[in-house]
Symmetry: C2
């Protein structure tokens, strides 16, 4: 069984990352979202194991101590982490894992898993990002300015990612992420079984020695 | 102007490489076939500069001596070569170049241009390759067996390429090559102008220092 790949997807708030990820996950077979662990309370409608794994501080602390996390972060007083075992469970069965995490987490994952493919989602321009955040209008003015300041710091970090996708049109952005994921599956490391199958038809093994 | 990429596409005879390349070139804007130089005679219907650059032995020799070729090969008594200047002309204007060459040539190009992206096209299995070659029936039995023996040697070399595409269905194979080409354009090295444009909107330069 060829192992799957790990795709890290990061973006500033308001870039449409969550919508893009949901669409790509629904269109590409064999792609699974790795759920994060969090200590924040479950919100109405959220389901444990679907949206997040909801755990208490003690459980989270124990996971940190046991080095269970590929990355973890402290955001607005709550903790979020990606479990190494959850990702391993996905890739070891040959599926690709999607990690929807922030740029700091993306850095940690790249250190732990150098083959991880990191994709940054960008707004088309600064005005659009600002307008989208204000249009959602679910946060206070101060909160939105804080998110914009965070985006200002995150965007240069995203430039270190492997791929960048500008979300100026949702459908186009979804297709671009799809191309990256689907192209990755055609890397020769993942196609070795194919080469072997073809060469078996010649009656010789892949090393050129005859079986007969 | 961001430079374009170089895509090397190789395959054993009978894998459908030429048809796949033609389709991909017609579907993906900004992708240009780099024509090879050859000393073989022009066949009916062929056009100089479209199918090949047709040159005589003296001109070819001079190009070899001037190190004008990224790669060149001797096939059935005739010579074929990829000119460095032709490829450079394409990528320096921001387009991507496609080189339809054999695996040996692919090795030389990778040495000269380590960033070149190499794509191998494979038949689904050995029987299909044999049947396709015989169905074309334009060569003698000996010639076809010679091509099969060459394919047998080439396929393990193709395993060293970056990507492998199995041509079991033409439309699917064309789309796979498209994904590889289109995903490559989303590499962050090619998206730096985007990051800079977004950050300009914040009123600050990419290095974080204020312009105001």
């Amino acid at each position: 069984m060829t192992r799957g790949d790990v795709f890290v997807i990061s973006a500033p708030s308001g870039s449409g990352k969550t919508t893009i990820c949901r669409e790509v996950l629904s269109r590409v077979p064999g792609l699974t979202l790795s759920r994060s662990y969090t200590t924040r309370p479950k919100m109405p409608g959220e389901v444990d194991g679907v949206d997040y794994y909801f755990v208490d501080e003690v459980k989270f602390d124990n996971m940190v101590k046991s080095k269970d996390f590929l990355e973890f972060a402290f955001v607005y007083g709550k903790r979020y982490g990606t479990s190494r075992a959850s990702v391993e469970a996905i890739v070891s069965r040959g599926e690709d894992a999607v990690l929807e995490i922030d740029v700091q987490g993306g850095g940690s994952v790249k250190q732990a898993m150098p083959d991880a493919v990191r994709i940054g989602i960008l707004p088309p321009d600064w005005e659009t990002l600002r307008n989208r955040l204000y249009a959602r209008a679910r946060d206070s003015h101060e909160e939105m300015e804080r998110r914009l300041a965070a985006a200002r710091a995150e965007i240069p970090e995203l430039a270190k990612y492997d791929y960048l996708v500008v979300n100026d049109d949702l459908e186009t952005a979804v297709r671009k992420v799809e191309w990256i994921v689907r192209a990755r599956r055609l890397r020769s490391q993942r196609m070795i079984a194919c080469i072997e199958r073809i060469l078996q038809g010649t009656g010789e093994g892949p090393n050129g020695s005859s079986n007969g």
